[in-house]
Amino acid sequence: MPSLRHKMPEQSAEKRRSNFSEVALGYTADTAQAEASRCLQCKTSPCRQGCPVEVNIPAFIKHIKDGQMDAAIQEIKHKNNLPAVCGRVCPQENQCEKHCVLAKRGQSVAIGRLERFAADHGQTHDNGAHPALKESLGKVAVIGAGPAGLTAAGDLAGLGYQVTVYEALHAPGGVLIYGIPEFRLPKDIVRKEIDSLKQKGVTIEVNAIAGKTFTIDELISEQGFDAVFIGTGAGLPHFMDIPGENLNGVYSANEFLTRVNLMKAYQFPATATPVHVGKNVAVVGAGNVAMDAARTSLRLGAENVYIVYRRSEDEIPARSEELEHAKEEGIQFHLLTAPVKINGNDKNWVTSLECIRMQLGEPDQSGRRRPLPLEGSNFELPVDTVIMAIGQGPNPLVQQTTPGLAVNKHGNITADEAGFTSKEGVFAGGDIVTGAATVILAMGAGKKAAAAIHDYVQGKKARNHG
């Protein structure tokens, strides 16, 4: 009789609704060992195919089972530079855990939770021993300190490159710092992972905006970088172009979450940046970004928080864990509902969101059934805050100032699997290439690009000497 997977200890929904502390508390060593014992250590280890950075999953799980926690985290770190992050935010059910032999009854080994356990253990038991820097193999610049850039930087430093990461904001981390909220991914954890990259020799320069403070061409021609990796993410917020979107009280999810996470608006007025959260909040969209905005609003004191989504629950793109957590906390769902207009008062503040009911028609190109409006079904949702979480596009600053860098019709940088762009010596990966995706895919792209950059730089040097 196969045993059930171990539950994640969590703060109760009632309690966590009003705090920003982490929701999931993490396995204890005993639970972790018990969960690790469920792993069949199968020879084929299909789970590994589901991991974009190819963590040796059975090996690290066996170390946990044997109580060798240091060995476990070292095994993970061979492949994954940000394990404490991935253990928390990877959509495991669609990746590694989906391929686990035990997944049939939804009882796959809790790979993500075990990864998190090992990584947290590593962060608290860091022995401080770091390999001495090898002789430098070359100089590489990385643009953007999100998961893609940080991973590329970590791998390149590990190979022996002198790496400088340039980040536009005042703090590195990308979405991990400004987007994903504290209660899901504590910022301390992110900072520690970044610190361990710095210990590997990576230099991070903040307040450095590629395309403004300097250009990519200058990095190569004036600063002597052998290669540049661009990981600038998908940070440009989309709006719906419906009437009333410029009323006060309407936010993009990016602005709302940046105010709260990066600028710590939830501690206002002890911190100087304010954020407005009314009593009734509508969040438009149903991805991870929407769930984060909704649950953040709740924690900032909103009484009613609605998710407004034009498709049905089956199509909700958020991670299942986040959807469950949102429901438990009391987020209200208006499914098959699309906003058509935002109404305001004479002081220019939002008073309601006008919506129309939808039904699902035939599948569209995305393979999902197309939502169609039901004529005459309009209704008004009284709200004082509206948060648009309907997706992001690529930030154009780098593309506009880098001649010869090809982009597609959406403005994403064109790059192949390995990260090669149309421009010699310039590589790219992560959301800036794929459009908004996931942390681990961005990391996978950073890893592949690091390997390609290594080949490219060494090849160039060999040619120059030959």
Partner: protein, 277 residues
């Protein structure tokens, strides 16, 4: 850290800092701005680059103390440092020889208009400048503006300096006198920029204004700085901050600027803002 090398008080509420920021000084152009964060708890504050010295690697910032953050900033002095300065941000002003250009600065708006007026002047334009303030004490950069202008008109609301009235009064007279104005560049309070645009509209004189909506990142990531221009949403930090004054929805801009009035009142009353300690 970005050291403050020099501090001057231009008026009781207007301060000038010369800040060491070599990478920005090397790159910046008239019309651009930076975003600074004073300390760990600070807001990201956008300020125009009022001047720069590429050799010394410095930029000059001129700011008015309006709320808690700018008042707190005004407490710093030479020898102190600012934690973060990012830039240069925004599009540079398009400089070429147009002919006669009128540069208008209202209140603190004189600071950002100065490097632009200087650049027009250096490009061979005939620069006529109009600067105004509520009273003589609040009038800034008169000498600097005079140096780059063919002629300089001064107005104050109370008549304590120059002539009593608004910056649009001399503008109307210039137009009435048949001055062949090719471009008007106006920077100041939104209401001032709006009235300048209303004065020039009937005469179809091209009018540029520099907008200052509330910003967070300044790199096009948050969408908080969006303004409606010719009925399309533009992000002032990347598409602007300069726009055609005849196409800007000034009313919407003013309403959005007031978005945090209530929060700022709370901040003041909570006394948590360090300028109250």
């Amino acid at each position: 850290m970005y050291p403050i090398l020099e501090k001057r008080e231009l008026s009781p509420s207007v301060k000038l800092f010369v800040v060491q920021a070599p990478a920005i000084a090397k790159k910046c152009q008239p019309g651009q701005f930076i975003i600074l964060r004073m300390d760990e708890a600070g807001e990201r504050i956008p300020l125009t680059i009022a001047d720069f010295n590429r050799q010394k690697g410095t930029i000059t910032l001129i700011f008015q103390e309006v709320g808690c953050s700018t008042r707190h900033l005004g407490r710093l002095g030479a020898g102190d440092s600012i934690l973060d300065v990012a830039g240069p941000l925004g599009q540079a002003t398009h400089i070429e020889k147009f002919g006669t250009v009128v540069c208008i600065g209202g209140g603190i708006g004189v600071a950002p208009v100065y490097p632009i007026a200087r650049a027009y002047h250096e490009a061979g334009n005939k620069v006529i400048s109009i600067i105004g303030a509520r009273n003589a004490e609040l009038l800034i950069m008169e000498d600097e503006m005079r140096q780059v202008s063919e002629s300089l008109h001064i107005t104050t609301d109370d008549g304590s300096k120059g002539r009593k009235g608004l910056v649009i009064d001399p503008l109307k007279e210039l137009i009435a006198a048949g001055e062949d104005i090719r471009l008007v560049m106006a920077i100041g309070p939104v209401i001032m920029m709006k009235s300048v645009a209303e004065v020039t509209r009937p005469h179809s004189i091209k009018t540029l204004v520099s907008l200052n909506p509330i910003m967070v990142d300044g790199t096009g990531m948050c969408g908080g700085c969006r303004v409606s221009v010719a009925n399309k949403n533009k992000f002032a930090c990347v598409d602007g901050p300069e726009f055609d004054g005849h196409e800007v929805d000034f009313v919407g801009l003013m309403a959005r600027q007031r978005m945090y009035h209530e929060a700022e009142r709370i901040e003041r009353e909570a006394g948590s803002c360090s300028c109250h300690h």
